[in-house]
Amino acid sequence: MDILQLVIVIAVLILLVKPLGTYVYQVFANEPSRLDRLYGGTERLIFRMIGLKQRAGMSWKVYALSFVATNIILVVLSYIILSLQFALPLNPNAIGGMEPTLTFNTVISFMTNTNLQHYSGESSLSYLSQMAVIMMMMFTSAATGFSVAIAFIRGVTGKGKSVGNFFEDFVKANTRIFLPVSFVIMLVLVALQVPQTLDPTLTVKTLEGAVQQIAIGPVASLEAIKHLGTNGGGFFGANSAHPFENPSPLTNVIEILSMWALPAALPYTFGLFAKNKKQGWVIFSAMMCLFLVFLTVAFASEKVGNPAMNALGIDAAQGSMEGKEVRFGIAQSALFTTVTAAATTGSVNNMHDTLTPLGGMVPLAEMMLNVVFGGKGVGIINMLMYAILAVFICGLMVGRTPEFLQRKIEPREMKLIAIAILTHPIIILIPTAIAFMTDAGQGAISNAGYHGISQVLYEFTSSAANNGSGFEGLSDNTPFWNISTGLVMLLGRYVSMIVMLAVAGSLMEKQPVPETLGTFRTDNKLFTVLLIGTVLLIGALTFLPTVVLGPVAEYLTLR
């Protein structure tokens, strides 16, 4: 039954890829379609209100400037709301203002689609902050990432100078995808018992006559966009392990599919843009192969359980249940963990800090690779970056000029890609080292020994990959952690996005090279294997030593 329920969810996902990928293509292809009749009216009104008359195409530079400017303005507005929440309406639980470094961390975290949370929602945010800052940024950061991914795809597959109009893409991502789909998911979740109210915390008298406080609020509306936008920030501290956020295995499956479906559909959308569906499936297969390996490790490791606990003489046949919920068991927990790290959502339905060593290594490794489906938009960009790298390496080996989608890959693109590839490990490993060398960093570790190394490494990897989950035992609400992870999240998000837009802009201006018999094909099984190999090679070269120091060492010493 365990394996069967995993297979069914994966099968449903695969069935969703084609229709959803086609829909996303229709939304962004800027060709007249039936969708215009449905959404055109609303969108024209919005375009008029924001003063977007021509919707002229943008060069990659203007596109980058537009999304950075919009993000900066949203960050400033949100910072003001969080700081003044005590004086603003919709604060029935009388929550005070937020401390400045925590506010800095929180607004960066949500704008970068990371949703690392150094606060607990139920005790630190007013309902207005949950709505106008958290939910708002869940939409806008997802729409930003999605738009940039589409612009990148247009650049890699198109010709000319324009990668599209950022504001138009941003509006359409919201009006045609995130808002309507979130609303439907929200209703389904409420039907399955997720609360949605503006009433303050409940006080009830328990069966034994004690008083129990129950935090509640507009949970379902947040839960829907939290997953659809691969955001991951919970309404409550316990995130999707909380019975109000995720009351049943069925809601668990719905949440898994809502975070997974769009990133999984994007390779198909890419195939449609490239006018070569096989090319899209090649990228998808590479992602899925890696995913299945990770899922197997996570499931097996959690099912076998913690050897120290198993030695206590109790019936441990269920597997490692520390930090997990009974309704989900091992299968639904392992699947959620593998998907949330793959799609860089960062929501959790079990506590990652309590995972067995190899089980905890899975989300860590997925975030280090950052290409197994990947977050809203970013995953496909990263995977295509590795595809270009794979073409380049193979081209060098056979002594030909590398080409990808009939464009020559030349030093300018490779230099930019090198920047993008190196940024990720640099912003993980250097801050991790600094944390170990300072009291402010070390002091936060709550699990001594090798597991402590994993805690710190996980925190920065999660920030750099814009995932947002954590080994939450880490006492990370201090100025050191708020500022350091804030900076890592910023760099992790914007450096690679801007650099990869530059790559797209540069590829776009090249003369297409006609395909010949000698052209190295990138749309067959061989290339899938080469792509996976490149990803693993780069990942292993960069991160293997730290992974050995953390989870592997803990695994080997745990008896």
Partner: protein
């Protein structure tokens, strides 16, 4: 912000103005209209779910939410999982003990010892791991069917209710896998105890 106007060509002179307007507009649409419309629709269509699935006992008194676990000190009631926050649902979470953390072993060994003292008739190799581990939320409303069944000898002794009656009660409150496939079989402790309390009275 000076940089913006300098780098923008005349055609894009409204880039900054569009950025500001789009930010404010979407703050209103996504941050105010969407959650308020959601709340309205949810309250209209599923009022009981939207307000936390509150549970009433036989006399109509609200005793909690069926989704949120409670701590049960009384040994004649079924007990739920370990909760580091003592089922205080104003917060949520666990103590996040890593698998190699000595505190995890200490806490679990203490739980096992307490179990032995309260349930001398059941050998510990039948004690399922979910009863001595902390749930992720600290609010887990469920235990496994096995975890409910092995508490029957103790509860039978303390309440005088026969094992058969209690077994039926557990069976009645066993929830199957969702759609017969997803998740695990489970028993809602608060609902089970509410029924037990009604029976006992």
């Amino acid at each position: 912000m000076d940089d913006l106007s300098k780098t923008s060509s005349p055609k894009d002179s409204s880039l900054l103005s569009v950025s500001i307007r789009i930010s404010i507009l979407f703050m209103i649409i996504c941050g105010i209209i969407y959650p308020l419309a959601s709340t309205g629709a949810a309250q209209l269509l599923f009022p009981s779910h939207a307000n936390g699935s509150l549970l009433k006992d036989s006399s109509g008194q609200i005793v909690g939410s069926e989704l949120i676990g409670q701590s049960f000190e009384d040994p004649s009631l079924f007990q739920g999982r370990v909760s580091s926050i003592a089922y205080n649902a104003a917060a949520s979470g666990s103590n996040n003990y890593g698998p190699s953390n000595p505190a995890l072993m200490e806490r679990t060994e203490a739980s096992i010892k307490e179990w032995k003292a309260n349930n001398p008739d059941v050998s510990i190799d039948r004690l399922p791991i979910d009863l001595v581990t902390n749930s992720g939320s600290g609010l887990d409303p469920h235990i496994t069917v096995q975890a409910a069944n092995i508490q029957i000898p103790r509860i039978s002794k303390l309440t005088g209710l026969s094992s058969a009656v209690l077994q039926d009660l557990v069976k009645e409150h066993t929830e199957g896998r969702d759609l017969a496939i997803f998740g695990e079989e489970r028993v809602n402790v608060l609902m089970l105890n509410t029924a037990l309390a009604a029976l006992h009275k």
